[in-house]
Symmetry: C2
Subunit: 229 residues, 2 copies
DNA sequence: ACCTGAACACCGTTCAAGT
DNA sequence: ACCTGAACACCGTTCAAGT
């Protein structure tokens, strides 16, 4: 796999640039950054159903096969998108707020970013950190925050992984259809579940996804907070 | 979509059964149960990469197009597998153990079942309960357990959803490669993360996935347990 | 009612041939 | 070094034609 950006780019001697042929929009210089940006724009416009290598190539005015000079597979493009998105996750609260509030802010921001990109979750969840430098930088910021608050060192990774697992699972909930808890014709045979769903709906200030996320996150923060020393 | 099993099956008058042609294994009578069983067997043998409608049809000795008389799509087959697998999740502890222990047993069992079927998670996570009767039965058993322990009714669904989100996210971790936390050449620039990874490895009785799951689950049980009245 | 076989409209990816 | 165009080996799904 080609490494990072070969951003030096256009190395033609000043007068000898190849003339642009009329009638075609200029083909962008392909590199991993350009591909990542175009891929994210395409996903935002067309969703992950519309995100194909052919469609991506079209937005870059190249043949699909040209992409394979810069990435090894479609999965690698997904990894590039994932890592880029992670830089939008806000870890700044670890520098300015209490540990509790920092974890809270980070977790909500993390869920927010990936709830619009759930097809990436199966990729992220099993991706070696070495393949995603910005993601690694996020872990470093969070690890530092845990360390500063006196969190037991040997449990820092486990706590972060647990929070992340909860966040990924919760990101799916955000995209669930409104009728997900509607037991329909089976309501009579599931009285406890059905009445619990009604009780939830009767409150219903937050969305069900937000209520569950808030409840679980506060339990995790409280439970982990008690481990500090 | 065709409803449930049309299991009455072979309705030929006694003497008039169509003769089996020599040389071919008998084609199974197709119905949703038969398809589900064959699909699960195929997944266990070939994984989800090898699970195609053509391969499924082959194991049933029918043409791929025949499947579409019984299911609307490949996604529907995945839903059938999902619901069938859910009947393997053990909820029995809600009848025999304390609430704490019941949640613990249920959660470990749930993660265990789906850690071998992570490609189903994107499907399950957003599936209306009405489309999965066995899954609904599981929710009923868990809801009843929460109710019996005095859990506030309006929070039962949120608590279950939060636990489930954590379980789904954690199921992915089970399948992660061993080097997932290896920061490689970036180790020097991520000292807090890297030392936390080393501290975890130095302990290392449980797998990292089990350690994170245990830590998060106990925090959720403790936090939710405090809400009972 | 439910099957087959052929076809459709795609996929991701490879590779020889060019410049 | 990096592009194009053609080809490959698949996918899931549809549908006319059969019984």
């Amino acid at each position: 796999m080609p490494s990072a950006t070969s951003a030096a780019a256009d190395s033609h001697p000043a007068g000898a640039r190849p003339r642009r042929r009329a009638g075609r929009p200029p083909a962008a210089v392909l590199d991993q950054d350009t591909i990542t940006t175009a891929a994210l724009r395409l996903v935002r416009k067309s969703g992950y159903e519309g995100f194909t290598m052919a469609a991506l190539a079209r937005t870059l005015n190249v043949a699909p096969s040209a992409l394979y000079n810069h990435v090894a597979s479609k999965r690698e493009v997904l990894v590039l998108i994932q890592d880029h998105l992670t830089s939008f996750v806000d870890v700044s609260a670890f520098d300015t707020e209490s540990w509790d509030q920092a974890v809270r802010d980070w977790a909500w921001s993390y869920r927010e970013v990936f709830s619009k990109h759930t097809p990436l979750i199966p990729v992220i969840a099993v991706l070696p950190v070495a393949d995603a430098p910005k993601t690694l930088a996020m872990y470093e910021a969070v690890s530092a925050g845990f360390r500063r608050t006196g969190f037991p060192q040997e449990r820092i990774i486990s706590a972060i992984v647990a929070l992340e697992s909860f966040i990924f699972g919760s990101a799916y909930d955000v995209t669930a259809p409104a009728d997900i808890f509607d037991s329909g014709s089976m309501a009579a045979s599931t009285p406890n579940f059905t009445s619990a769903v009604e009780r939830l709906a009767r409150q219903g200030l937050e969305s069900p996804a937000d209520a569950a996320f808030s409840l679980g996150l506060e339990a995790l923060i409280a439970g982990f907070g008690a481990l500090r020393r």
